[in-house]
Amino acid sequence: MSRKLTVVLFAMLVLAGAMGLKTAVSASGKPTVVATGMPAPWPW
């Protein structure tokens, strides 16, 4: 298998894994992005 195909396969696997994990972790519908230390908006 060529390197380019390997890269495409890896990208698809990562995307599928990430979306699966997101579904499992944030099924309650709460926002999950908090990159800074500033307080998140309240209420959601």
């Binding site: 990562v14 979306m19 999950t32 800074t36 230390g37 500033m38 998140a40």
Partner: protein, 232 residues
């Protein structure tokens, strides 16, 4: 209303973020870790902007909400590039930079397409939903990529201590958020308590990076924990 603890944590977070950039400048390694420093620099600017909007409009205002989530999306995209930079460092001896860049662009484009496909059902405020969903999706892509990078580091027996420290702290940062959200998903009644942990977790990444840049020399190598005896 925000209490004194919230303000102290926010202030510490900005101080730690700024200290990463200052330590890099003092160590003359700003360009070597360009994307990490770019991420921290933008983080400081975003925190200052969020503080200004928060003071002006209030925490529950629409303005603060828009500013907060749009700036978070920008930060997550820069963090994604910082992670790509770590991939380039780990694989630099294999001379596959072209493929790493190709993979990063493909994954970013794939995530954007997937997000568009999900939010295209909603015609009302589509751009806002797109930005918000994209940043969430990129966060989880970053989480999986960090674990994959750690696997590559273990497999390639990477010994550069600074690089290992960067990746491990990023892994702890992503994992702590994921664990917090999983916990709040399992126990929704605890969400109001777990919610308070997020700014503290946000402080840990810049603290770990600042410590690594300040204390770990650029050429430091990890000693192997044990040597395997291979029969001839």
């Amino acid at each position: 209303m925000l209490g004194p603890v919230d303000w102290i944590i926010s202030l510490l977070s900005v101080l730690f973020e700024a200290s990463v950039v200052v330590c890099s400048l003092r160590r003359k390694s700003f360009r070597r870790h360009f994307f990490l420093n770019l991420y921290m620099s933008i983080n400081v600017l975003v925190s200052a902007g969020q503080f200004r909007v928060l003071m002006h409009y209030g925490r529950s205002s629409l303005e603060y909400r828009y500013f907060y989530f749009y700036s978070e999306a920008l930060l997550i995209i820069v963090l994604y590039f910082a992670l790509t930079g770590l991939y380039l460092k780990v694989f630099e001896e294999m001379r596959v930079e072209r493929y790493v860049r190709l993979g990063a662009v493909l994954l970013l484009a794939g995530t954007a397409c997937f997000t568009y496909a999900v939010v295209s059902q909603s015609s009302h405020r589509m751009l806002t939903y797109f930005v918000f969903e994209l940043s969430q999706n990129l966060y989880f892509v970053g989480l999986v990529l960090t674990y994959a990078l750690w696997g590559a580091i273990v497999k390639l027996k990477e010994t550069r201590a600074l690089l290992v420290q960067f990746v491990l702290s990023l892994g702890v940062y992503f994992s702590a958020y994921a664990a917090s959200y999983a916990m709040s998903n399992l126990r929704p009644d605890l969400y109001s308590y777990i919610f308070r942990l997020f700014p503290i977790i946000g402080c840990l990444l810049p603290l770990a990076w600042a410590y690594a840049i300040w204390r770990v020399p650029e050429d430091a190598r990890l000693a192997p924990a044990r040597l395997a005896v291979v029969p001839r």
